[in-house]
């Protein structure tokens, strides 16, 4: 899995940090920064969630993940709530 981030589009809502704290952080102005360009499979769900909630869409998955993430947008949440 490879994640891309376009920092110039970030609106600093902090949602990606809440969803995937091991992958994203923020600089002093709240703009998202990527901690891990190639997060492991154990972080896949967190990254998908970050993509889904990203306000301005600067967080992008690589092509293979994108299809899966798009499918997930709007899907019914499955199982109990899990917060990262």
């Amino acid at each position: 899995m490879k994640v891309e981030l376009e920092a110039d589009k970030c609106v600093a809502s902090g949602q990606c940090v809440l969803a995937a704290m091991d992958v994203f952080d923020q600089d002093d102005d709240g703009i998202a920064i990527l901690l891990e360009e190639k997060p492991g499979p154990e972080l896949l769900d967190d990254v998908k969630e970050a993509i889904a909630v990203c306000a301005a869409r600067p967080v992008r998955p690589a092509a293979a993940l994108q299809a899966a993430a798009v499918q997930r947008v709007g899907a019914r949440p499955a199982g109990p709530a899990h917060h990262v």
Binding site: S13, V17, I31, V73, H83
Partner: protein
């Protein structure tokens, strides 16, 4: 009386519904039934506003997110077709009513204090504010108005601390904010209220220009000194942050408490947990369920957009009501049920796209502290009047309750 009114009357064949619609008095937490009917019928439909204009109403979650995330819509009230909430008044609220690139330039001047780590660093301060206010409640007799004694002071104290506004002046900015958000305020009343808070904040920014301190007002004043903002733009930005920082969270605290009191099984889950994840989940669900910003996001189309079998033409207005998006049964199963154990994180209570709420990390943290503390400290908390006697803010752009008599 209707029969004494002169002028044209709507034709009987007229099928474009008026917006906004009224909630069902017996279901104060639910969107207007007419809105839900429109959602069931189609993802987009036309509605008629107070001025006779007929913008699009976007009823479903997927289409709302698509349009709010689309660069071909404008949030600027001066863009042709923008669906106005009222005749005028209040002017532009800084960057939330601007488009990129100016929107992004101004918004980025205010983002730093709302970064997750900075907000987390404020959590102990917020916890102390909440604990002290509960001590005060418990020291006195009930019943009390939870809005005045608890819900309004918490976010007001927090945003004052963050901005560097003296809390002693809270009555002035709280009262004028009420006038600004009251739907029945006249243009003159709304302008006057905006001028009072603006004049006050403009004065504080002037002071910070002379003597900078460690607060957000000083940082905004620094932009004025650097020639990046006019004094007027700085004042507007400060007004937006002060206004959005207290009025919204205060309504979430009071309305959320009432919703929990009406759903004792959910309140019990919250009261009995020590798990911050359960509390965080409850905050997301209450945001989804309550939707206090109930008047709808407003946009004007700047280039034709094809969506859901319709074409939104340049110059069309668009209204996106998050309260029905968050009750979309395609996205949230059994959407009218308050269920703090569901994963509600993808709600659009803070909006979506580039204008998504700037202060949401702070709002989340404040609500986590409040919901995680109040019902544990006062486990016998209960409503001190009948639900029918609670006055809901049907007459405000931000929904909530005017007062909440509680005892314990």
């Amino acid at each position: 009386m209707a029969d004494t009114l002169a002028g044209p009357v709507p034709e009987a064949t007229d099928t474009v519904p008026e917006f906004p619609m009224s909630r069902e008095a017996r279901c104060p937490f639910d969107p207007p039934p007419a809105l839900k009917d429109l959602q069931a019928e189609a993802p987009l439909t036309k509605v008629r506003l107070w001025d006779g204009s007929e913008p699009w109403l976007v009823t479903r979650y997927t289409e709302q997110r698509a349009i709010l995330g689309d660069a071909r819509v404008s949030a600027d009230i001066d863009t042709p077709g923008y669906p106005n909430k009222a005749a005028s008044g209040g002017g532009k609220l800084s960057f939330i009513m601007m488009d990129d690139p100016e929107h992004a330039r101004l918004r980025r001047m205010a983002t730093a204090p709302f970064a997750i780590k900075r907000v987390e660093a404020m959590r102990p301060t917020v916890q102390k504010i909440v604990d002290d206010l509960i001590d005060d409640l418990l020291a006195g007799p009930g019943p009390v108005d939870l809005v005045d004694a608890f819900a309004l002071p918490i976010p007001s104290l927090v945003i004052c601390e963050l901005l560097g506004v003296p809390y002693d002046d809270h009555a002035m900015f709280q009262d004028n904010t009420k006038t600004m958000v009251r739907t029945t305020s006249t243009t003159e009343e709304r302008n006057a209220a905006t001028r009072v808070i603006g004049g006050y904040l403009g004065g504080l920014i002037g002071q910070r220009l002379a003597e900078p301190q460690d607060d957000l007002l000083s940082s905004i004043a620094g932009r004025v000194a650097a020639g990046e903002l006019t004094h007027g733009q700085a004042t507007e930005m400060a007004l937006l942050l002060l206004f959005a920082g207290h009025e919204t969270t205060a309504n979430m605290i009071a309305l959320g408490t009432l919703a929990l009191l009406q759903n004792p099984d959910q309140l019990a889950l919250l009261r009995e947990t020590d798990d911050p994840k359960v509390v965080a989940s409850a905050v997301e669900e209450l945001l989804r369920y309550l939707n206090i910003a109930h008047e709808g996001k407003r946009r004007a189309v700047t280039e034709d957009i094809e969506i859901a079998g319709q074409v939104l033409k340049a110059g069309d207005g668009v209204i996106l009501v998050n309260e029905i998006a968050n009750r979309d049964p395609e996205v949230f199963a059994d959407p009218d049920k308050l269920d703090i154990t569901r994963d509600a994180r993808r709600h659009v209570a803070f909006g979506f796209g580039i204008h998504q709420c700037l202060g949401q990390p702070l709002a989340r943290m404040e609500l986590q502290v409040v919901y995680g503390t109040l019902y544990k400290r006062i486990p016998t908390l209960k409503l001190a009047c009948a639900l029918e006697d609670v006055k809901f803010k049907h007459d405000a752009f931000i929904y909530g309750v005017h007062g909440l008599p509680v005892t314990w």
